[in-house]
Structure formats: C-alpha cells, structure tokens
C-alpha cells in the first residue's frame, strides 16, 4: 500500500466514524459508502474483500443464526413465559432488575457467543422493562456491555479472546487459571457504577402486575421443536468443536437456523418470507461493511509495524508493553471491530517479542506455542484491551450494534453519543481494573 493510500484509508475510516458519531447519515449507508470509496480508489481489491469475508463470515453467521432462531422462538410464546419468571424475580425493583440482568447475561455469554446471546435475551429483557414501565434502551445497552465483558470469563467467550489464546497455544484450563479472574473483576466492576449511570432504573419501584394464568399452548409440538433446536444449539456451542467432525460456533448457528426454518416450514405457522423479512439486515450489512473497512486498515501495516517501535521505546520491559497494549488496543477497539484489530495486533506483538529476543524468529509464524511465562501478561493485556475496549461505543462490538439495532426495531433509535454516555465510563473503569490485574500477573510471572 502506498503512503497516499494509507492516508486515504485513515481519512475514509475517520470520516465514516465521524459521520456515524454525528448522526449525519444512517450508519449502514455510511459503512457502505466507506467501502465504495476504498473500492474506487483501488485500496481494497478482490483479494481483500475475500479476506474480509473470511473474517466476517464467522460473526455474521453467528448473528444470522441467532436472529433466525430468536425470531422462530418468538412465535412459541416462550419469551413471554420466561419474561414472567424474570418479572416476578424482580419484585418490582429496578435494582433487582439490573442485578438479575447481569446475573443472567454474564454466565450465558461465558459459553455462548455475545451477539447471539443479546439476540436471544433481548425479547425477555425488553418485555420485563416494559412491564416495569422502564426505558428498555439502557438495559439493552447494559446487556451488550455485560455480554462483551463476560466474554473474558472463558477462552471461548469472545472470538478475540479465543484468537489470542489459540495463537499462543493457551488451553481452556490455563485460561481459567490466568485470565478468568480478571474477566470476573471486569464484570463485577460494572455493578457499583450502575446507581450512577442508570439512577432512574436503579431506584425505580414498580408494581408487578398481578399474576395471570398463562394461556394454554396452542401448538405444543411447535414449542417442543423450538426448544429442542435451542437446546441443540447450546449443546453444540459447548461441545461442537470436540466432536469427531469439528462443528465451529458459526456452523452451529447456521445449522440451528436451518432447522428452525425447517420447523416453521413444516408446521406452517407463517410463511418463511415473514421470518426473513423480520431479520435485522441493516445490522448484518453494517457489520460486513465495518469488517471490510478494518481489513483496509489492517492492510496499511501501521499496527503491525509498531512491534519494532515498541522494542525501541521500551526494550524488554514486558510490564510496560503490556500496559501500553492494554490501553492502545482498548482505545482502538472502541472504534474498530476487535477481531481484525486483534489479528493485526498479534503480528505486532509477536514481532515485538522476536525483536526483544524473548523468542526465536519462528515465533512469527502461526503454531508457535513455546512462549515463556514472562511474555503471557502481554498477550493477556491484549485480550482485555480488545474485549473491553469495544464496550465504549456503539460501533465497538457486534453485540453493541445488534443491541442498538433491536432497540431501533422497537422504535427507540440509540445515538452514538447516548451509547457513549454509558459505555465510556464503564470501559475506563474496566481497563483500570484490568491494568491492575495484568500488573499482578506480571509480578507473579517474574
């Protein structure tokens, strides 16, 4: 890429984000315009589109599958019943509503993909908020933020975390030992912030509507099949990659979506066209555009080239480098999808490690797993930065975009600045806690 193309890429990216932040153009259209500019300028070509699609295929499949399954389950009436249970558990307290939300979302996202979880839980959360006569936008933003943060709880909780962990050969057990506690702290730090960020909800008291007798299920067979598909999806998310034929989470989502569509077709509840029409295509297209834009950003090589600069500035001071990466990757993940950021940052970090002579040249290649213990906090800092940084803005994570898309579908458009009002303070607090945690790890690994 030429210097001119690098500048044009950065300007294009900045303009797209700026246009979205200022709410000048619909964000999907802004994203597509950015892609068009890069295409016309020859900055991205067919190979780059293919590369971006390879990266985007996983997250987009997860979202598409989650949307289809959630849309089909909506017809079963199950969300209403779960919503009633949730509503009773709140006892009309806004505080309990928010705490239960964290309690439900966090463990779910530790094992299920974030955005898929948001899609599946959104109908329940919105329903309960409406019953308590509360604004559902704030709980939906909280759902997205908690889901991203809880992705740090396990190695498979977030694609970015998985990308870093797998690239250095970290096992599920090692992750639990070294990283999960930090992830838990990142979730817990949200709770003391809630009274200040969402005081109207935190202090709200509502009367829970009197219990009503649930209407009998009209099509029990349909409900059973819907729940079986949901159960199959959850089980395959958990063990699919351990099967003799490895089924990765995006494939699980596609399988579940296909089965759900098959059930809708078979029981003839409604035309398939209705299901497809109700999917959030704007969110899917916007995310695809963002992945292409970030592919162009990665192509500039700016991030990858920072490895030698880090070595020049900080030598072999891994603790300092870990802090710098945590903050800088966190800042970048605010505006960029974290998967491509992490992919580019891995090149940078491995380059730094080789330049610092912590590992041999072959560590630059994939598959190298013999990383010294002293280097691990640097990679763990990357995980925290990439996963938690996305909480700050509307475009920082796919779960945020999905959450905002759901709000829009329910008639409440969420602006960039409104999301930032809640996301930024939480992100700052989480990054501070994570920094302390990573420093502790660095000290222990000495």
């Amino acid at each position: 890429m030429t210097d001119l193309q690098i500048y044009l890429t950065l300007v294009t990216f900045a303009v797209v984000i700026g246009v979205i932040a200022l709410d000048l153009i619909d964000m999907m259209v802004a994203g597509l315009l950015g892609v068009c500019i890069l295409l016309v300028l020859g900055i991205i070509e067919a190979d780059d589109l293919a590369a971006a699609l390879r990266i985007a295929a996983g997250p987009l499949s997860l979202l598409f599958g989650g949307m289809v399954v959630a849309r089909v389950l909506a017809k079963t009436g199950i969300f209403e019943r779960v919503g009633k249970l949730y509503l009773r558990a709140t006892a009309g307290s806004g505080k309990r509503f928010l705490l239960l939300l964290v309690l439900i979302v966090a463990p779910t996202c530790a094992v299920l993909p974030n955005a898929t979880t948001v899609i599946l839980l959104a109908p329940v959360i919105i329903r309960v908020a409406q019953e308590l006569q509360l604004d559902f936008v704030k709980p939906m933003i909280l759902t997205a933020i908690v889901s991203n943060s809880a992705g740090m709880l396990t190695l498979v909780g977030d694609p970015a975390t998985f990308l870093v962990g797998s690239s250095i050969g970290m096992t599920f057990g090692q992750y639990l030992q070294k990283v999960s506690l930090g992830g838990l702290l990142a979730v817990l730090v949200i709770i003391p912030l809630l009274p200040a960020l969402m005081p109207q909800i935190w202090h709200a008291r509502s009367n829970v509507p009197a219990e009503t007798v649930d209407a009998p299920i009209e099509r029990p067979g349909f409900v059973v099949l819907g729940l079986l598909i949901l159960g199959l999806m959850v089980v395959l998310f958990l063990i699919g990659e351990e099967l003799p034929t490895r089924i990765v989470p995006p494939a699980v989502a596609i399988i579940a979506a296909t089965l759900a569509l098959l059930v809708i077709y078979a029981v003839r509840i409604e035309p398939l066209d209705n299901v497809l029409r109700d999917l959030d295509w704007k969110t899917l297209i916007f995310l695809g555009a963002i992945f292409v834009l970030v592919q162009a950003f990665s192509k500039t090589g700016l991030l990858q080239g920072m490895g030698l600069t880090l070595n020049r500035w900080f030598g072999s001071d891994f603790a300092l480098v870990a802090l710098v990466l945590l903050v800088s990757i966190g800042a970048m993940s605010c505006l960029l999808a974290n998967i491509p950021v992490v992919a580019a940052s891995l090149v940078m970090t491995k380059g730094f490690m080789v330049a610092a002579e912590a590992v041999p040249d072959v560590a630059l290649a994939g598959g190298f797993t013999d990383w010294p213990a002293a280097t691990l906090p640097v990679f763990i800092a990357m995980m925290f930065g990439a996963t938690l940084g996305g909480n700050a803005t509307l475009v920082g994570a796919s779960a945020n975009i999905v959450s905002v898309g759901i709000c829009a579908k329910h008639g409440h458009k969420v602006s960039f600045s409104r999301f930032l009002r809640y996301g930024l303070p939480i992100t700052v607090a989480q990054l501070v806690v994570s920094s302390i945690y990573v420093m502790g790890l660095t000290w222990l690994s000495r």
Binding site: M1, T2, D3, L4, Q5, L8, V19, L24, I25, L33, C36, I37, V40, L41, G42, E45, G301, Q304, G305, M306, G307, L308, N311, V347, M348, K350, G351, F352, V354, A355, A356, E357, P360, D361, V362, L364, A365, G367
Partner: protein, 350 residues
C-alpha cells in the same frame, strides 16, 4: 429541521462524489505487485541491511553506505526506479530483520540471511536467489596454538544472538562427541574485543563476517586466524515477504541480470555503449530487445542496463567490496561463475 437534514445530506453527497472523482483522477491503476507499486509510488526503496559488516554493509567515513548488500539494494533501486541512489537503508539487528520484513517496514532484506527451509516453510519468507555463498567458520587469536576445531573441545565459543550459528555450533560439537560452552554476544562487532579480553577462546560466524572482524581489529591486523574447517552451508540471499510473486521475480532477476552481465562481459563501463565483447545472448534479451518481458515484470525496458550501470556486473560488485579491490581480499571460491567452476549461475531468459 427536515430542510436542514436534506442540506447536510446533499452536501455530504457532493463532498463524497467530489472526493471519489478527485481520487480516481490522481491514483494510478494497480497493475504490478503490491510491493513494486508501493516502491514506485514512494519513489524510494526501503532496504534492510546490517549496520556494521565490512564488505557487506557499513558506512564509510563520509557516512555513505557501502558493501555488497548495499550495492545489491542500489541495483534493485536502479532497476525499479531508474536511480541507484533512491534507497533508504534501514540498519537492523538480526532479531529485527524478519519482524521488519513482515511489517512492511522494509521492501527488501539484504542482511547476510541464510536461505533455509524453515524460513521459507514456516515464516513464508521468499529467497529470490543466492547473492553470496558463505559457510560458518571459527576465528581464534593468532597467538594461540589452536589449529583445528578438535582443539576447541570444552572451550567457550562466542556466537551472535538471533542467528542460526548457535544451532550449527551445538549440532557440530554434539555429532563429533565434543562439548562446547556457547557465549551469546549481542553483535558480531564485539567479537574482536571478546577474543582479546579472553571471554571466549574462539568466535563462530559466517567466514566472510569473521574476515571482516579480523579487519576491524584496529592496529592488530594479524591478530586473528580463521580455522580451516567449515561446519555449515550458508547461502546468503536477499529476502522478501511471501505472497508477492511479482516482487520476488524482480529481485531475483536483478541479481541474475548482474550475473548474466558478468557471463557476457558486460561491465559498468561498456553497458550503455553496448560494446559487449561476446556475441549477443541472454543479456541482449534482458537489456531492451524484449520490451514485453519488462512490461510483464512491471519495470522499464532498460531496467537491467540501469542496474549494471549503477553497481557493475556481479564480478565487479564482488571484487570492489569483498575481493581484490577491497581490504578483505576474500577469494571468490564458490561465488565464481559456473563457467569458472563456481556456483553463480543465471537461468536462461527465454
């Protein structure tokens, strides 16, 4: 309110379309490889070299870069940009060379890097062609009684960090049932001091580098000897990051053009006057008659002529930097042309 939004939208659209139109006018269509395109647009070649290997890459007292590696960078710049001076030399220590190449900080690495399967298969680095056939040797102080490797059994041997020399050293001593204590040294430039102050009994590195080390020992020109044994093959090659075949082809054929020029008696002095002492052969095909070849490579038709004009043919380049015309006086040995019993061999053009 609606009117305001429409105004903002229309202004944004006009700005967008204007920007696109402007960019379409000023940006060249992409037709060559990514690196070649970037080098042309930048107008400079970024070449990664070592900072201080006499004969290969070092700065003279005037601050000018010189050496075999430096000349090869200039030849590539001349072929691609038409001017051998359009090079930015990026001095790199051994551990920085591959990260710099991977991060596209440099377009080309010419830093005494051995062509190995590990680098090709694992790191996806491509080695266009061998620039210098070297081998790993041992340097000892002249006044010691050590005359062969067997006498280094149990000795401390200095080796530069981040190179393949350590593994070769260990392998050789293990297979010959001897022991050795390797002492890692940050840079080969510290070898002479390490030997003189007794930190190690011998230093091991590429033979050419050890010859340079002996030369670097100021005021003690005869202070060191190189032992006769060689323990490895070190085919030193320029390196490019994998995946850009066009760039690999250009770098490879710039080197082959220099070799072909020597084969056919084309020199820096006669290259532009076409006073070739031999009948026209492959050189003529490279030097302008086959414009389609240059077009396919993405370079100007006179690329080979410009490369030779910038640095001379391979033999001239060698003798000036490493051979008879240099303080090192290293015999060409395997770096002679194939017609003279060496290994330097360029494939046919057609």
């Amino acid at each position: 309110m609606i009117g305001h939004k429409i105004t903002v939208l229309s202004r944004t659209c006009v700005a967008f379309l204007g920007t696109v139109a402007l960019m379409v006018l000023i940006v060249d269509p992409v037709c060559a490889g990514e690196v070649l395109n970037a080098v042309k647009a930048r107008g400079r070649l970024h070449c990664g070299v070592s900072a201080e290997i006499p004969g290969f890459s070092e700065k003279d007292p005037k601050g000018q870069w010189q050496g075999l590696n430096v000349d090869f960078c200039r030849a590539v710049a001349a072929a691609v940009l038409g001017d051998g001076d359009k090079v930015d030399f990026v001095p790199l220590k051994a551990s920085n060379r591959f990260p710099a190449l991977q991060a596209r900080i440099i377009d080309l690495l010419v830093r005494n890097t051995s062509w190995t399967l590990t680098c090709e298969a694992v790191l996806k680095i491509q080695f266009p062609a061998v620039l210098f056939y070297d081998s790993q040797a041992f340097l000892v102080p002249a006044e010691t009684d050590i005359t062969k490797l067997a006498e280094l059994n149990g000795a401390t041997v200095c080796v530069e960090k981040g190179t393949t020399h350590l593994r070769n050293l260990k392998d050789y001593f293990r297979t010959h049932e001897m022991s050795v204590n390797p002492l890692m040294i940050d840079s080969a430039s510290e070898f002479a001091a390490a030997l003189l102050d007794g930190r190690c009994s011998a230093c091991t590195a590429d033979a050419s580098q050890l010859a340079a080390t002996g030369l670097q020992a100021q005021g003690t020109p005869l202070a060191f000897r190189i032992l006769p044994e060689r323990i490895s093959k070190e085919p030193l090659s320029p390196a490019v990051w994998g995946g850009d075949q066009e760039w690999t082809t250009i770098v490879r054929w710039v080197l082959y053009a220099l070799v072909l020029a020597e084969e056919e008696g084309v020199t820096r002095d006669n290259v532009t006057t076409n006073v070739s002492p031999k009948p026209p052969g492959d050189w003529l095909a490279l030097s302008g008659e086959q414009g389609k070849l240059a077009e396919a490579m993405g370079v100007r038709t006179d690329w080979a002529v410009r490369a030779v004009k910038a640095v001379g043919n391979y033999g001239e380049m060698y003798e000036r930097n490493l051979g008879r015309g240099s303080p090192l006086k290293i015999e060409r040995g395997p770096n002679r042309l194939w017609t003279e019993g060496g290994l330097m061999y360029a494939p046919p053009v057609e």
